[in-house]
């Protein structure tokens, strides 16, 4: 039982990282049907920026977080304008490639700016392991878990209760109709991309003490997060968190009881299975939204 709890909880802590990143895919997809395929690299930029601010410049994490999020928001505005909107406007799907190209550029720039060696960033909440009965967790893992849950509550509130959130949903439903209702669809598209970038910055800020600062830190994480967003359904932010946590726990249990080599085979097979049975994802409602 102790073994079960330890591997499941360690897995859930990793799953929270996936969930935190995966929500970014849903943000842009819901408004414009665009996916930032390089989201993992944006997470990396957030992480590397955090490293510069905290480990090199000695800024406190509380101050570094807004700097990172605002920087990535601005970067998101620029990237959307340059690499997504021109293709979207022309009705082309080339943004698939151009978002990836931006990500590859990020990796190369990161190598030039920060070098290639993995460097540590100290945990924001201490590194003394926490013991909950027989279970051991790192404080940073618990912080990530808490942040992920808080973020999803905020998003839920944003979508349901705020005017801007409702505008987001309206544009998601039909950009044209929303425009006719006086919503600036273009602005919403731009904002959703930039907010997704900013949240990637938050994810990078949160995970970098666990993953080490290095230009490849987000690549695989972004891929797994993508699988989770697909499993949950791109239109269901709450489902994405749950799927992330469940996926993490599953990974931990597969590694613990079976074999690490089987983990990704089972994980990605699950994604294909879900796509097969429920193409819209486990948590997405099939156009059930009231018009």
């Amino acid at each position: 039982m102790q073994f079960f709890l330890q591997v499941a909880l360690s897995g859930i802590a990793t799953g929270a990282i996936y969930g935190l990143i995966a929500v970014g895919y849903s943000l842009t997809f819901m408004t414009t049907k665009v996916l930032n395929f390089a989201l993992g690299m944006w997470v990396m930029i957030g992480g590397m920026l955090t490293y510069s601010l905290i480990a090199r410049m000695g800024l406190s994490p509380i101050l570094a977080l807004p700097v990172v999020m605002v920087s990535l928001f601005v970067l998101g505005v620029v990237a959307e304008r340059v690499s997504v909107y021109p293709f979207l406007r022309a009705g082309s799907d080339v943004w698939v490639m151009s978002t990836l190209a931006v990500g590859l550029l990020f990796i190369d720039f990161a190598e030039l700016i920060w070098g290639r060696s993995p460097t540590p960033v100290p945990s924001y909440v201490g590194s003394e392991p926490l013991r909950i009965g027989p279970i051991v967790m790192l404080p940073q893992q618990i912080l990530i878990l808490g942040t992920a849950i808080l973020l999803f509550l905020l998003l839920e509130y944003f979508y349901r209760r705020t005017l801007l959130g409702k505008a987001f949903r309206a544009v998601a439903h039909s950009a044209e109709t929303a425009s006719l209702m006086g919503i600036n669809s273009r602005l919403i598209q731009l904002t959703s991309y930039a907010v997704a970038a900013s949240l990637a910055g938050l994810a990078g800020f949160m995970v970098v003490p666990l993953t080490l600062a290095e230009p490849q830190l987000g690549t695989v994480l972004g891929l797994k997060a993508f699988a989770i967003a697909i499993i949950a359904g791109l239109g269901a932010p709450g489902g994405i968190l749950l799927s992330g946590l469940a996926y993490g726990a599953l990974e931990g249990l597969i590694s613990g009881y079976l074999n690490t080599g089987l983990r990704d085979i089972l994980g990605f097979s699950l994604m294909i299975l879900v796509l097969f049975i429920r193409p819209e994802g486990l948590f997405s409602k099939v156009q059930a939204e009231r018009a």
Binding site: V7, T14, R116, S117, P120, L212, E214
Partner: protein, 418 residues
């Protein structure tokens, strides 16, 4: 802006057609003797690739300052293969056929060297000395097996030897019988896992657990608990800095003090930078360490590296290996000339050599042994307070020298300092 006259136009035309000609092999005899290098100068493996180039450049600077090879200067022509075998192959051709290099420093990726080995032996026919790539099959290649001329030589770690050395150290020197394995599923980890299993089998042992992890694992809790529950007294590992950092961080989190022995992927300062105190007590096999007492020759090179590049040395085995490789080439070229075939033959006939990785009082290479370093030349080191200290055995007990005067014995069960 200068006006283009007929004369300048003619001069420009003239230099445009003659400059490329100077690069042709036929003209090479008037210029410097060129040594080639293709390896990762960007990307995750660049820490070792750049250090190979730097080691080569420092050696060439030293040789040139003493007058070069019979008055001719040496020159290093480097290419970035991005750790990609396809690029390595193309660049080897380019370096030999267009740049006219007469010898090469080996790449950073074993897969690259496995890909170029048959081309080097059958077509290009230039000698290569490798400081970093450890796959056994690179030197024990088809040409070697068929008794043809083998152009590939190694001054770094070689795979089979390292596998033997790690297992033998754990079993014979440190006395562990229940060995657990924890390896990376990336290329190097896979071959390493094979070597460890092979050696354990040869000694009549089976690992009590044979765990793996991949590059996306940042938390190794399940694997480490399984190893502990299986009763592993000691864990053997092949992985690089990043993955090993996650292993030791998780070990620290779990309060797991099981001895941990890794291959030479973490035998450089980068590991301590990444893992910090969590790396304390980790053992790693290596061919060289720049911590602890050093010879004056090594100290001089460390000093030169600092003043030339103003950066910390990330891969000592690459710097010192490349340095030795260039000096080996130089010694043979001064004696046997600069024909690539003659250099190759000459390398098999260097009776003694004062290298910086090792001082050889036996032939560095022979016709049948293209690995300069054997298992007996490998060293086991322990990460101790930020330093990689060589373990020596005092009446059978493992010890490390924490400073000039103090030798401290390691606890036989968990290898902490007594």
């Amino acid at each position: 802006m200068a006006k283009i006259t007929r004369r300048t136009a003619l001069a420009a035309f003239g230099s445009a057609i003659t400059t490329p000609m100077l690069r042709l092999p036929a003209f090479a005899q008037f210029g410097p003797i060129r040594i080639g290098y293709a390896g990762a100068l960007t990307g995750p493996a660049a820490f070792t690739g750049v250090d190979i180039r730097r080691g080569g450049e420092l050696a060439i600077a030293d040789i040139n300052s003493r007058g070069g090879i019979k008055g001719r200067m040496l020159e290093l022509v480097a290419r970035d293969d991005e750790h990609n075998p396809v690029r390595t192959v193309a660049q080897y051709r380019e370096l030999v056929e267009r740049e006219g290099v007469v010898a090469m420093l080996g790449a950073t990726n074993s897969a690259s060297m496995l890909a170029v080995a048959p081309i080097v032996n059958d077509t290009l026919k230039v000698p290569v000395i490798m400081p970093a790539t450890d796959a056994t099959a690179i030197t024990e290649n088809e040409a070697a097996k068929a008794g043809r001329d083998n152009f590939l030589f190694r001054v770094g770690m070689y795979g089979t030897g390292q596998g033997n050395f790690m297992v033998d150290t754990a079993v014979k020197k440190l006395g562990f019988t229940k060995i657990g394995l924890l390896n990376w599923t990336g290329g190097w980890g896979v071959t390493g896992r094979g070597e460890l299993n092979r050696r354990l089998r040869e000694l009549g042992l089976t690992p009590v657990a044979d765990e793996t992890f991949d590059s996306s694992d940042t938390d190794m809790t399940p694997q480490l608990i399984k190893l502990k529950n299986a009763g592993a007294q000691c864990i053997l590992n092949y992985a690089l800095v990043r993955e090993n950092t996650f292993v030791v961080q998780t070990k620290q989190k779990l309060g797991d003090t099981t001895p941990y022995i890794s291959g030479w992927g973490i035998a450089g300062p980068a590991f301590w930078v990444a893992a910090g105190k969590a790396a304390e007590g980790v053992l790693t096999s290596s061919t060289i360490t720049i911590d602890g007492p050093q010879s004056p020759e090594r100290l001089a090179l460390l000093q030169k590296y600092q003043t030339t590049f103003k950066a910390p040395m990330e891969a000592p085995y690459s710097v010192f290996g490349a340095y030795d490789a260039i000096f080996l080439f130089a010694e043979v070229m001064s004696r046997d000339g600069i024909d690539p075939a003659a250099i190759r033959k000459g390398l098999e006939n260097v009776p003694t050599f004062k290298g910086l990785v090792k001082q050889y009082d036996r032939p560095v290479f022979t016709k049948d042994r293209h690995n300069a370093l054997t298992e007996d030349d490998m060293i086991m080191c322990r990460w101790t307070e930020g330093k990689l200290l060589e373990i020596t055995y005092d009446a059978g007990k493992p010890t490390v020298a924490t400073d000039v005067r103090t030798r401290r014995t390691l606890d036989p069960t968990d290898l902490h300092l007594l």
